[in-house]
């Protein structure tokens, strides 16, 4: 297959799908024109991400990276979650085809966007903490 068994596993049985009613941070990244939108819901308690859910409109890789990213940050501190790189997600998924790397970038960005939202809701400027969320470089579409 195009995808590793691990990707197919996360695609076929994605973990943490859905919305989180009591989320206190929600991030959405991507662009429907490109066929990829990720929305991530986090529940932060005492600096720890106690729960996380996602919804993704996108390809197999987008769904699998969303799923894997939620698993990787669940139970982690915000600081640790912000250290999650797309590379780590790709490695955890045992690789992605080159054309699909942008999807893992989206997953990293979705986590950062959710954390940024969490800070914003607290009235804290997320900029210095989260940094630039950035755009997907795989496409040249304007919103």
């Amino acid at each position: 297959m195009l995808y590793s068994d691990k990707v197919m596993d996360h695609f076929t049985n994605p973990r943490n799908v859905g919305e989180l009613a009591d989320a206190n941070g929600i991030g959405e990244v991507g662009n429907a024109k490109c066929g990829d939108i990720m929305k991530m819901y986090i529940k932060v308690d005492k600096g720890v991400i106690t729960d996380v859910k996602f919804k993704t409109f996108g390809c197999g890789a987008a769904i699998a990276t969303s799923s894997m990213a939620t698993e990787m940050i669940k139970g982690k501190t915000i600081e640790d979650a912000l250290k999650l790189t797309n590379k780590a997600v790709v490695e955890a998924l045992e690789g992605l085809p080159p054309v699909k790397i942008h999807c893992s970038v989206l997953a990293e960005q979705a986590v950062r966007a959710a954390v940024a939202d969490y800070y914003k809701r607290l009235g804290i400027d997320p900029g210095p903490i989260v940094g630039e969320i950035g755009d997907c470089h795989a496409c040249s579409h304007d919103e």
């Binding site: 695609f11 959405e28 429907a32 024109k33 919804k55 409109f57 795989a138």
Partner: protein, 389 residues
């Protein structure tokens, strides 16, 4: 959910070689290995087999055998026809070509390449039903127009274009007319003389023949420069040792496809309509392309909130092979140019599903697809951030 069944519903991408075609090919992959250009009997047997296939292809199109040139497929035929006409007429100062925005890439990218060489290309729009208007063709023809190239039937949404009318118009205006009939052959009646088609491309692997072989019909009297120069094969117009087995396969495939056309098409239409009627009740979905002027085996439906690749992968897990846009553009991030051309928003285009049927498709296959697809759409929508909106 029903038990998993294997359903191949991507016959517009490629088809399974039929047993009759396979059986016809095998002798030419075994003992019939002579080179058709060779003078001894083993060569001549191969030459006769190629000739017979040429007659079969000609008969299927209403053409003469010497008007048929075998190629390596539909793409080569498209390239040869369009580049050949362009370069011939450029010498006479005619550097304008008319085509449509939703042609197959073999036509579009060929035109793009010519554009970079200095040709002027008019890309006709298509309406929201996926049809080119004859009026538009008429208005686009100029003094310096060398060629009109409009596909017979679209590969993604299956819409059938007004080929005979365009043929008549081009004939009247003395402009050459090429049609990419790769999807039409075996599915729609074709008569190149009655329809006034000057050049026509076809491909074997779409009609239960082998991959890597096709043909260009080029009306007698039209002399194209060669795309592939070399030996004297194909009357000196297309070099390369003939793919004898492939050519024989094409001959048998096109004969089978054309001889039983009305019955086959009627059966396909019934399956297609049952599939369409069974899927359209799904919330917020739409059939792409005109429902009547449509290939007998083509279903193309967009489901809002669903992305194509994840849809295809999920269907694959259920044993269903389908497509979401043209086969050769999968892996691309861009939504189908065909669906954008008929006015779909990009995010809806991403969620389109093409199910293309063939003689191999059974009633049970349709039942199975109807039992699986709605649940798959529901599951994907449940995880889609676009669906909540």
């Amino acid at each position: 959910m029903a038990e998993t069944r294997f359903v191949y519903a991507d016959n517009a991408a490629t088809t399974k070689i039929s047993d009759a075609v396979f059986d016809a090919m095998v002798p030419w992959l075994k003992e019939g290995y002579g080179n058709p250009s060779s003078i001894y009997r083993k060569g001549d047997e191969a030459a006769r087999a190629v000739l017979k296939a040429r007659e079969q292809v000609a008969a299927a199109l209403g053409a003469e055998p010497r008007e048929i040139y075998f190629t390596s497929g539909g793409s080569e035929a498209d390239n040869w026809a369009i580049k050949g006409v362009a370069h011939t007429f450029a010498k006479k100062g005619k550097k304008h070509i008319i085509t449509s925005v939703f042609e197959h890439h073999a036509v579009l990218h060929t035109c793009d390449a010519l554009r970079k060489e200095g040709f002027e290309i008019t890309y006709l729009p298509v309406d929201d039903m996926g049809l080119v208007s004859v009026e538009d063709v008429k208005n686009a023809i100029r003094e310096d127009t060398a060629l009109v190239s409009v596909m017979y039937a679209n590969n993604e949404i299956g819409t059938v274009q007004p080929i005979s009318e365009i043929g008549a118009l081009c004939h009247e205006r003395k402009v050459l007319f090429h049609t990419d009939a790769v999807q039409a052959v075996g599915n729609l009646p074709i008569d190149v003389k009655a329809q006034q088609i000057d050049l026509l491309s076809l491909s074997a692997h779409k009609i239960h023949g082998p991959k890597g072989v096709g043909a260009l019909y080029c009306r007698r009297g039209i002399l194209l420069p060669n795309l592939i120069d070399g030996g004297g094969q194909e009357g000196g117009h297309r070099a390369g040792t003939e793919n004898v087995a492939g050519i024989v396969g094409l001959g048998v495939a096109i004969t089978k496809a054309m001889e039983t056309l009305p019955e086959r098409a009627a059966r396909l239409r019934a399956l297609r309509d049952r599939l369409i009627d069974g899927l359209l009740p799904i919330e917020r979905c739409r059939l792409n392309g005109d429902r009547e002027k449509r290939l007998p085996g083509n279903v193309n439906i967009s489901f809002e909130g669903v992305e194509g690749e994840s849809l295809l992968l999920t269907l694959d897990a259920h044993g269903i092979c389908a497509s979401s846009g043209s086969a050769c553009t999968s892996g691309s991030l861009d939504p189908s140019h065909v669906l954008l051309a008929i006015g779909l928003p990009a995010e809806v285009a991403h969620g389109s599903l093409r199910l293309s049927l063939s003689d191999d498709t059974s009633e049970e296959d349709v039942d199975y697809m109807l039992s699986v697809i709605p649940g798959v759409i529901e599951k994907l929508r449940a995880m889609s951030p676009l669906w909540e909106r």
